[in-house]
Symmetry: C2
Subunit: 245 residues, 2 copies
DNA sequence: AGTTGCATCTCGAGC
DNA sequence: GCTCGAGGTGCAACT
């Protein structure tokens, strides 16, 4: 049985040894561990980074993820992805937290000069996020009412594979011409045009049917440059957004 | 003057009112505020999401960022970017934390059934991250020793603008032919080929000099599909990684 | 404020 | 495990 005191363990201004004990136990018991204090951070792996002394918030997740947050930005200043092994030790009087993995080999080391706060939380979370307004929702909107692309458009397949990748919607128009539709949930730039162009090009080679092939980019809007590229490549644009709800 | 007690304020199993006071004061004083407890999360803005009851860690940063973390994943399950206005209130006995912004209009609401922990940390962090192994480092490596691309390659400009965007390195080869170099710090797929192709294409139109134009993708490696696309487009590949240090 | 492309992108799906 | 593309991508640089 878990009482509130068991579920959450916290320490204010702990000694390095006391903090290490809490973190160690937290890692072992699958808790979500947080630390706040003055620290340095070193990372080596896909890239290499160093960060001098400053106050940061460190989170160690039971799935192996590690996050180091400063007072600014949505993104952690340093991190380690899920699947890592966390460990903690005291070295030369400093609390040292490490998180490492292989494939690729990479390691994160946080060295605390001082720890202002340490906590371990037992987490129970069975809920899944329900998200709407995605590209998948836009696809459903079109499959429900293909005329939104153009009158008499007929979807034949989704995620149809081509030598260049999977086409969002593959179908044909009123005149029986093959249509490749690329969907984007938001305003698009040149990259999306390049993507559609790759698919159309690949399918043209596959079908030996270049003249009868159309490519349509469906998105809320396009940038100027994207519009120019569409024109250059002979591709089309239809303005459509994901459903509100 | 700031004592350790001033710098860090924490509450265990606080009442909603006590937690609200701490959060309110933390927001006002520019502290980094964290909460842990059972909550629901609702977001509406660029998309829409709901998340049922579960134990999560919430961080409110003084720059206006908000993060909601579950026990899994490197990414927050919900968030709000920097620049938002945080607010807190007690409604029907629940602690409710809100974070909102305009342009685009979006709002995050976290409703706590129970709060296990609340904390406010005063943050001092003057250090900047030093990162190496980036695309910029790869570019420097080539500018230092252009022969790494090919013997007698001569860089003429970086970030040269074309109608399709900026070229990483623009130069010429031994025979005076124009060379467009696209850099990637890691293994690349079809998207990078499309990008290089766009630049070469745009520059060809600009220079009216199609035959003498070469495109070289410089990266550690390429996927099979990317290699096929390179061949189709008449583009080249040179294997090179960012420097180790 | 809008555009463009990088990122230790992360994440999920498919293979 | 790798590949590929979406993402409420975030983020900086530039216009």
């Amino acid at each position: 049985m878990t009482t509130p005191d068991d579920a959450t363990r916290t320490l204010a201004d702990p000694t390095p040894d006391a903090a290490a004990d809490l973190v160690e136990r937290g890692i072992e018991t699958g808790a979500l561990v947080t630390l706040f204090g003055r620290c340095r951070v070193d990372y080596d792996g896909r890239a290499t980074s160093t960060l001098g002394s400053g106050d940061r918030h460190v989170m160690l997740k039971p799935d192996g993820a590690a996050l180091v947050h400063t007072d600014e930005g949505q993104q952690p200043v340093n991190w380690q992805p899920p699947g890592c092994e966390h460990s903690v030790r005291v070295a030369e009087g400093d609390l040292v937290v490490e998180s490492e993995r292989s494939t690729p080999e990479e390691e994160l080391v946080v060295t605390f000069e001082s720890v202002a706060h340490a906590a371990a939380f037992d987490v129970t979370d069975a809920s899944d996020l329900s998200l709407s307004g995605t590209e998948a929702d836009l696809r459903e909107r079109i499959l429900d009412d293909p005329d939104l692309v153009e009158p008499s458009f007929t979807p034949l397949a989704t995620e149809r594979t081509t030598p260049a990748g999977a086409v969002d919607i593959y179908g044909e128009d009123d005149d029986g011409r093959t249509v490749v539709v690329e969907l984007k949930r938001r305003r698009v730039g040149p990259d999306a045009v390049g993507q559609l162009d790759r698919y159309v090009d690949a399918l043209a080679r596959d079908l030996h049917d270049d003249a009868e092939l159309r490519g349509i980019l469906v998105a809320p809007s396009v940038t100027d440059r994207a519009r120019e590229l569409l024109a250059q490549k002979g591709l089309e644009f239809v303005s459509l957004s994901p459903p509100e709800a």
